[in-house]
């Protein structure tokens, strides 16, 4: 008998760890949590207690109020009373697991968190990325139920090697967090307010490439017509999507949803819903593998950094003087009612872009002026030269440059230089300076040559006095030379089209990931107008110098 007791005791001791292991599964933890919550909800007065957890409120009501998108194809759409999409299916599965009915409420990106805070809804499942900025506004449920990434979409017959988008123009929506990365990759951005404009402009070929969440493009790429013409080139900037609940009185609800999400990832519930709705499954397949691992498949797996993904961090560092700038913005707003926003002075990467943009613009203007003058003298001398071959060559080049819109001349110069040398900012600026100098210099050179020939007709000149005649021609054509110098300075912002990192380019990049578009572009207009006025003033002094025959002295 004693022997039997010892055997039983040993069996119990041996079984204890297995029993404990079974109890620590997320399934058991969820079952316990829901049983306790149901018991609490059934207690008298529990459903009216002011400090009750939101899970108790849901169980008392028998309904889970979920905020969902109704305008996001494949994820959340509504046709009459019929809701469908991946997030709709996720919401239904969650409600079923909690043992309650589900009520859908339409939310927008701007309203989803406020509606949680004012208790209009219990839960948000609405294409909401889990990031550090939102952590103070809502409680995110981890593990995540989806992960989006930004994808570059373009025509099927356009190849992009090694994800290299330097110098490429990409259409983006303003405020998209991934724009900063595209800027850092050297892409030029064309900004739009609305993501639907991206597909429209891809279709009408106004945009060669467009960047947006893969979840947005998924619907269009599933369309045979659009999908037949365009394809994903590559993806970057992954952002996990999380269900969200309110910050207060949601400890139990968040715990229940976290465990549910673990189970759904492990058991492929999310994966099956994704497949049924034709959305991407790569992330969910990875997550199924992660949450099936022994170290993750526990009731504490949701807090294990080796299992759960951290929120994405879209925060950009502030400048050391950001507080002062913000106070200044507030003061201007208070005194004038004008909403002044100066992101280039408050965000560190924007400040860096702004400074280099100003310096590069001034260098570009100075370079364009010098190049215009140099090419003017060169073309003028060639067109005034005796040898016909030289004259006609210069004249032919001038006609070609006059017939080529400056934008095209810039592209040609940039294309040729890119073939000869590897891409760099200095190279693009040099290409712009050469193109602006050639275009304006050729025209000014023609004016010099015309002045030279009229002087030749009027006075005649011995070959030994040709140089003096040329100097007099400079004096006579001073108005034209100055007009084209001013023209060159005014044309410098066009260099942004070939990716020159001047101020227009820098500010376009800044506004793509920050606010304050109106202020930014107003400042840009003021900057260039003031700089051109200064150039005009300097050129007029130069004109006076030429007209007084300064070059003859």
């Amino acid at each position: 008998m004693r022997r039997l007791v010892w055997i039983l005791a040993l069996c119990l001791i041996g079984a204890a760890p297995f029993s404990a292991r079974a109890d620590s599964s997320p399934d058991a933890a969820l079952a316990r949590l829901l049983d306790e919550a149901r018991a609490t909800a059934a207690a008298p007065g529990a459903c009216t207690r002011p400090d009750r957890d939101q899970l108790i409120s849901i169980l008392c009501a028998g309904h889970l109020r979920v905020g969902v998108r109704d305008d996001y194809p494949l994820f959340g759409t509504r046709s009459g009373d019929t809701w469908q999409g991946y997030e709709i299916d996720v919401a239904r599965a969650v409600a079923q697991r909690l043992g309650v009915a589900v009520d859908f409420t339409k939310v927008k990106p701007a309203t989803r968190i406020p509606m949680l805070a004012d208790n209009t809804i219990d839960l948000v499942i609405a294409t909401m990325a889990d990031n550090t900025q939102r952590e103070s506004q809502a409680r995110f449920i981890r593990p995540h139920y989806y992960q989006s990434q930004t994808v570059i979409v373009g025509p099927r017959d356009l190849s992009i090697k090694d994800d290299d988008v330097r110098g490429q123009t990409i259409c983006v929506t303003i405020g998209n967090g991934s724009n900063a990365e595209l800027v850092s990759r050297g892409a030029r951005l064309m900004l739009f307010d609305d993501s639907t404009m991206l597909t429209e402009h891809l279709a009408d070929q106004a945009c060669m490439l467009a960047a947006q969440d893969d979840t947005f493009f998924a619907y269009y790429l599933n369309n045979p017509d659009f999908g037949g013409r365009f394809t994903e080139k590559f993806g970057f900037a992954e952002a996990p999507w999380g269900m969200g609940v309110a910050l207060d009185h949601t400890d139990l609800l968040a715990r229940a949803l976290g465990l549910t999400s673990q189970i759904f990832n492990r058991d492929g519930v999310f994966l099956a819903a994704a497949k049924a709705n034709h959305v991407g499954t790569r992330f969910l397949r990875q997550q199924q593998e992660v949450w099936s691992r022994p170290e993750c498949n526990t009731d504490t797996g949701g807090t294990n950094p080796a299992c759960v993904l951290p929120p994405s961090n879209p925060d950009l560092a502030a400048t050391p003087f950001a507080n002062g700038v913000v106070e200044f913005e507030a003061m201007v707003s208070r005194l004038t009612g004008i909403e002044l926003t100066l992101p280039m002075l408050t965000i560190a990467p924007a400040w860096s872009l702004f400074l280099s943009g100003v310096v590069n613009s001034l260098l570009l203007i100075a370079g364009a002026l010098v190049a215009t003058l140099a090419f003017a003298l060169l073309f003028g001398a060639a067109m005034a030269a005796r040898p016909r071959l030289l004259r006609w060559t210069a004249r032919g080049m001038t006609i070609a440059l006059q017939s080529s819109p400056i934008l095209l001349t810039l592209v040609i110069a940039a294309s040729i230089i890119h073939v000869l040398l590897p891409y760099s900012s200095v190279l693009v600026l040099s290409a712009a300076i050469i193109a602006l100098g050639l275009t304006n210099g050729a025209n000014a050179g023609q004016a010099i040559a015309e002045a030279y020939w009229t002087l030749q007709d009027e006075r005649g000149a011995a070959p030994s006095r040709q140089f003096e005649l040329f100097l007099r021609a400079l004096s006579r054509s001073a108005t034209q030379i100055v007009a084209f110098l001013i023209n060159a300075a005014k044309g410098t912002p066009i260099a942004s089209f070939i990716g020159a990192p001047e101020l227009l380019s820098a500010l376009t990049d800044i506004t793509s990931f920050s606010s304050g578009r109106a202020t930014t572009y107003t400042l840009l207009l003021v900057f260039y107008t003031v700089v051109v006025i200064a150039v005009i003033w300097l050129c007029r002094r130069f004109q006076t110098f030429l007209e007084r025959g300064g070059v003859l002295a």
Binding site: M190, A400, L407, L408, F484, K490, P493
Partner: protein
């Protein structure tokens, strides 16, 4: 070496010529608006006084504002205006066009006032020349997705495999732009010479210096 097949020409050239017509449309709108504003500014400057000074200041600012920056300002700083891409480019060219018309208009008014009506007419070739400059400048629309000639050319070029192929396409584009442009400039020169000869026949005093080719 790219093979310029008949399909390329049948597909690309019609699209390119259609794009070029957008360049002419933009230039036309900009010139009409520029004429309206520029003529008013010229009148104000001709009258002198405070109004004339104010007008000179406005013309000075308009002359200094770079077209490309004005275009981005209209696109981004005034988004609620709801202008189409074509109109944004056209309106961005108006400061240049109006400033040029105002400058030429003051000269013309002075000639008219001096009784030299034919010399006053010399403003016409200058305005015609400005129109062609506007046509070339309207290619800035490519930067904001307006389907004008250069945008279509660059779109096609982006699909070509080598720089040689691209350069051939660019040359085709330049030739297409040069035909109306050089013909236009030749017509302007003929008109200017004709008016000059007629003016000389009727008024023996020397003509004013011709205006420089306007800045783009």
């Amino acid at each position: 070496m790219m093979v310029f097949t008949s399909s390329l020409f049948s597909r690309f050239l019609p699209a390119f010529l259609s794009g070029m017509s957008v360049n002419f449309e933009i230039a036309g709108i900009a010139l009409v608006l520029g004429l309206a504003f520029g003529f008013l500014l010229a009148l104000a400057r001709f009258r002198g006084g405070i109004v004339g000074s104010a007008s000179s200041l406005v013309v000075g600012l308009m002359r200094a504002a770079p077209t490309f920056v004005v275009m981005f300002f209209l696109l981004n700083a005034l988004p609620r205006v709801g202008l189409s891409g074509v109109m944004i480019v056209a309106v961005s060219l108006v400061p240049y066009a109006a400033a040029f018309v105002a400058d030429s208009g003051v000269d013309a008014l002075r000639q008219w006032h001096a009784g030299s009506h034919l010399a006053c007419l010399l403003v016409l070739p200058n305005i015609a020349r400005a129109f062609f400059v506007l046509v070339m400048s309207s290619s800035a629309g490519a930067a904001i997705g307006v389907p004008e000639g250069i945008a279509i050319l660059l779109r096609e070029a982006q699909k070509l495999p080598s720089i040689g192929d691209m350069l051939i396409l660019f040359v085709i584009g330049i030739v297409c732009f040069s035909v109306p442009l050089q013909a236009g400039f030749a017509a302007v020169r003929l008109l200017q010479r004709h008016l000059g000869r007629v003016a000389l026949r009727h008024r023996p005093e020397p003509l004013p210096e011709s205006s420089p080719l306007p800045a783009r």
